[in-house]
Amino acid sequence: MEPSQKIDIKQMKVLLIFFIVGDLMWFLPSFTASASKQDAWISAIIGVVVGLGIASFIYGFSTKFPGMTLIDINRRVLGRFAGGVLSSFYLLHLLMNGSAQIRVIGDFMTTQMMTETPMRVVLFLFAAVVLISIRTGLPVIARTAQVFFMMFVVLFTILFLLLVPESEPHNLLPLASHNTAEMMRGGFFVIAFPFCQLTVFLMLFPLLEKEEMTFKSFITPVLYGGAAIVLVVTLSILVLGSFMTEHQIYSTYVMAKKISIGNFLQRLEAILVINYLLSTYFKCVISIYAFCRGVTILFGLSDYRVLALPLFLTMFGTAYVVSSDVVFLNSLGPAWALWEITEFLALIPFVYAMHLIRSRISGNQLGSS
């Protein structure tokens, strides 16, 4: 039997923040700036506001089905077969997402830091770390997150404070010169990437120890994560300007390179990269862990850990073949965002609507609402 996988609310909060910040530091500034240039920060705010709505909806959805994972919910509402098919699509999506995180790390490392290292080496090492984490179980992952969270906050604050002197308020001008459509297009990425992906937490909520997660304890970390996104996008525009933000593949890294306090406190980018790596790692681990749980439930396995090793090889392979090169991966952005939104729409509002219809037909016998 697998060991207990229960975690407490505090740990869930930390995981939520890590998940939302996730891999966004790598590419979100450049995605939003490509749509609305110097108004990218407004896009980010729009995205976060809409995103908070989506997050609340996901939370509301979860309270209708206490103690159930998304897979259970799908099967209960749609029946064993249809629910299983929908769940399979969702699980595939989780696997792709997790692998893409690994690929992002691989691309970054071989672009900026170790240019002559074969990417497969980076992917292999990162996937191996993910494998170990998955095998140790969610409580260990959550405790790791707690340990690193302090460091994450400190490094993030350092990044923010040290970049304030480098910022150029002129870069924001002219204010709000883009029309609503362009701003929404920038916000669209913010909505898709962290917020629609929050459905993965529907796989984790049943693993909470004792108490249920209240709305406040769910939305607070989501809000912090959203604030971090807005901050990073705004800083990137302020420090690099809209052109650089849009055209640097890793604008946050280039931004960290700019730090220079009195000509001695500089070249901190390698340290600050730890931050980006950490949040990406946790996002990857959460996605892959949710995938494992999903498969376990879907196929009625007794211990998810048997999946770890084959999964490791799958991730390593998928991360390598998911894109032929860095250009293709980045050009996938809009399509990937649409995929996230479709997954969200198909899972939450659709399943919820089905649930409402079915419970009305069968006289409220199904759901607990």
Partner: protein, 402 residues
Amino acid sequence: MRFMKQSLLLLLVLMTIAPLTTGCWNRRELNELAIQLGTSIDKIGGQYRVAVQVVIPGEVSARASSSGFSPVTLYHATASTVFEAFRKLTETSSRKIYSAHIRVLVLGESLAKDGISEVLDMFSRNPEARTDFYLMVARNTSAMQVLKTLTSLEKIPAENLFYALDTSAKTWAPTTTVTIEKLIEQLVTEGRSPVLTGVKMIGNTQRGEELSNVQEIDPAAQTRFIGLGVFRRDKLVGWLNEEQSKGYNYISNNVKSTAGHMKCPNGGIIGMETLRNYTKTQADIVNGKPIITLKVKNVSSITDVECQIDLKKPETIAALEHESELKIEGIMKAAVEHAKQTYGFDIFGFGHELYESHPRVWEKEKETWNEQFKQLEVKYEVEVKIHKIGTTNDSFLNYVKE
């Protein structure tokens, strides 16, 4: 037995980890690197000649006594792309060039006239190089020649160029520093054009390469920064002289501190030091026409009096402030007029200011902006404050007796 099993397992784990912890894949030791500090690029017959100034560690180390050789060496190679030329350097260099510590990039004048964008892409794409080096254009000489001059206060000539420009930009109005990011930003921004400081050789150029150059008190050959090069798109179109460069830097808010002089009311001149300067460019629409207002706030002090003037009277200070305001206005005006007449396009980035404050007007005007620039109305609002006059009040000049 259990202990045995555990230790065996531990051993196995350690053996597995060992190959993974060998450090970077492509590690490079310090003694395998040629640290590049200065770079120059010339265009010769459609090809790029890249020269790099590489430091010789033994010669600049504080502990080891110098053996009397040059502290740096120069490698150069010519190829169709800059990166190829860099690699081709290994034909002469024993080590691979390590570009992370680059301080200056000197561009040849002919290259600058043909366009610099193609060369710059490599520097912004290459992950190794830092982007905080300064760019400059060699004037009346090849870029490579600039790197060939030995200097004494800074042992490494590239460091000398870097710090000379850095100090000069901070304390002397006609020069300014440009990093590659700033340059690219200016190149891609509508309504903006870049400038680069020019560097030229003075004295006996050939002697500069010899070690005897640094054995003299007054070196036979030196490098000197002179004037700003004006670019249209990415092509060098002309040079500003010292006064015009001053004006450009005042307008672009590049002046931090500088020295100047002005006429006294009764003849003679009086020297001034600018302690702080801030210029704000404002674009307004008046009667449907764009008007640029340059608001200068300047704090100066008097450094030397070379005329008959009574510095004990408050009215004198007010008069000097006014005189100084006129002087700065005159410098800026001359630069603007020169740009209007000689270049006929907006070298100051006024168009960008208009875009920042009136984006919709700019959309309409941008096609004809350079034509409009020739008739553009520019207003000057200069405010000079003189708070200090040095340690003496009235100059002894007023009391010199036979």
